[in-house]
């Protein structure tokens, strides 16, 4: 199975994960500062800054795009509960 590496800047932890994992699943397990609310892409609690490697995440769905827009999220931000890791190296930190 293809692997990816996600680095959580706030806690200095890099995690090797299988492709297809969502950011929030990893964040939760390693105790990073990205916290979650609804886990369904609505509440925007898990807004995350993608420091680098945004191209290694699946494109946001229409719902995620709308929620990011409604919440005036700056460019380069994603919802950790929605963002699916495809591969490569990704660096993130809480928004």
């Amino acid at each position: 199975m293809p692997k990816a590496k996600v680095t959580f800047e706030d806690i200095g932890v890099s995690v090797t994960v299988p492709a297809g994992t969502r950011l929030i699943e990893v964040s939760e397990k390693v105790g990073a500062g990205i916290t979650y609310g609804c886990r369904e892409g609505e509440c925007c609690t898990c807004l995350t800054k993608i420091v680098s490697g945004a191209e290694h995440l699946a494109q946001p769905s229409m719902l995620e795009d709308q929620v990011l827009k409604d919440n005036m999220a700056p460019r380069g931000h994603r919802l950790a509960c929605q963002a699916q890791i495809l591969g490569g190296d990704i660096v993130v930190r809480p928004a």
Partner: protein, 423 residues
């Protein structure tokens, strides 16, 4: 002082500005979590300009009759050009679906984050959402000689909340901000009974968890000329309105002075039946202290009450909870504290758990789950030790304390791990 709101007519609060809200004197508990000893009010307002009429907020659905009667005493539905929703919670938006049916031409102004809530609110009626315009700080609506200017004040107390400022009159429609549950038909702060307790109680239960946002909002409001603050609950503040703004600033400012302010703070709470979890707590605290840069405090939960610890927790950077496992659970004093934290903001604080156990040792994992649920970060796996901690196990406790201190002070060594190893 005559009771202004004892009739079913609107009450003028400034020239061409009327209160059209409703009184709910017999309510004794609000949203389950708040006691309301003398009820509450749902304040809504109408502003008349030369070219338009605006309705600011509505009321709880069951009080829609009072709202419409008062509204009709000062405006026709076909005159309403503007509906402002400062906050979409049902006690302020309950009459909105019916108002939209009666004034379908009105344009609705709300914050960006209120849009999804508006759709959810109108879902049962099956109606198409009205023409709505998301607004933010500085956006304005011209009513003809009168200007409504919006202020983006999120999280006071919902993500959607905003305030609306009537520029020419120095009148702030503040939504739940500066509000309180206090029902008095005399309406104005210089005419009603003593509502000081209600004002502080409301702040403590509704606004306190969002104090950083309170300070942002206060900074946004402070430069405004303020002749009147018209909140969505409780008295209209026309006498010395700025006093209430100052009080919010005081209430949102940390109440305890931390002499060691330059250091991070770690609170180690524990409770212990035979001294084993206490020994773990002491070793953990010593480990954290040894790293430096962290002010560590030990608290035996048996010697305090949950509510009293809340102030400390609000100011702390890290929290560690130690509990034995009794009947497959953490013990009640721990849960009492962990269920008292909804009135303060703990999001993003560092959390950890530890405890001695006899047979199954569930307490530590249960506490960690709760800490995550409260949106603390739990980067270091908790420590479970079978019954009496031996010297090497106490060393593990010290190491846990050291790790927590390193996390608090940003001195963690970068680590690489495989997700599979964490499963």
């Amino acid at each position: 002082m005559p009771a202004a709101a004892l009739t079913s007519d609107a009450v003028e609060i400034a020239p061409g500005v009327h209160w059209v809200g409703a009184l709910d004197p017999h309510l004794r508990s609000f949203d389950i979590i708040l006691k309301t000893a003398n009820g509450t009010s749902y304040n809504a307002y109408v502003v008349r300009g030369e070219s338009g009429v605006a309705v600011i907020d509505t009321v709880k659905e069951s009080y829609a009759g009072d709202f419409f009667r008062r509204l009709e005493s000062v405006a026709r539905y076909d005159e309403i050009t503007t509906i402002v929703l400062n906050h979409l919670e049902p006690d302020h938006s309950g009459a909105l679906p019916e108002l939209l049916r009666r004034a379908p031409q009105a344009r609705v102004y709300l914050s960006s984050r209120a849009q999804m809530m508006l759709k959810a609110l109108l879902k049962p009626s099956g109606e198409k959402p009205p023409q709505y315009i998301p607004v933010t700080t500085g956006d304005e609506v011209d009513l003809g000689g009168r200007t409504l200017r919006f202020l983006h004040t999120p999280y006071l107390h919902w993500p959607d909340t905003q305030c609306t400022y009537l520029v020419e009159d120095g009148l702030l429609f503040s939504g739940d901000v500066f509000g309180c549950h206090f029902c008095d038909a005399r309406l104005f702060n210089d005419a009603v009974g003593d509502f000081r307790f209600s004002f502080e109680y409301y702040y403590a239960h509704i606004m306190r968890p969002f104090r950083e946002h309170v300070l942002d909002a206060v900074a946004l409001i402070e430069p405004l000329e303020l002749r009147t603050i018209a909140p969505a609950h409780g008295p209209i503040l026309r006498h010395q309105p700025r006093d209430y703004l100052h009080r919010y600033r005081e209430l949102a400012t940390p109440r305890l002075h931390n002499e060691a302010r330059s250091e991070k703070t770690l609170l180690v709470f524990y409770i212990s039946a035979y001294g084993n979890t206490r020994h773990m707590a002491e070793a953990l605290a010593a480990g954290a202290e040894a790293i430096g840069g962290v002010r560590v405090s030990l608290y035996d939960l048996e010697g305090g009450e949950a509510g009293v610890f809340t102030d400390l927790i609000e100011e702390a950077d890290g929290l560690a909870f130690g509990s034995p496992t009794i009947n497959a659970d953490a013990v009640k004093p721990v849960w009492d504290v962990l269920s008292s934290l909804t009135t303060v903001n703990v999001k993003g604080k560092l959390g950890a758990a530890f405890g001695s156990y006899g047979w199954s040792g569930e307490a530590v994992r249960l506490i960690e789950d709760r800490l995550r649920g409260l949106k603390l970060r739990v980067p270091v796996e908790g420590l479970r030790i079978k019954l009496v901690p031996a010297a090497d196990e106490l060393a593990q406790c010290r190491a846990l304390g050291e790790q927590l201190a390193r996390h608090l002070t940003g001195r963690i060594e970068p680590r690489e791990i495989d997700l599979a190893a964490l499963a």
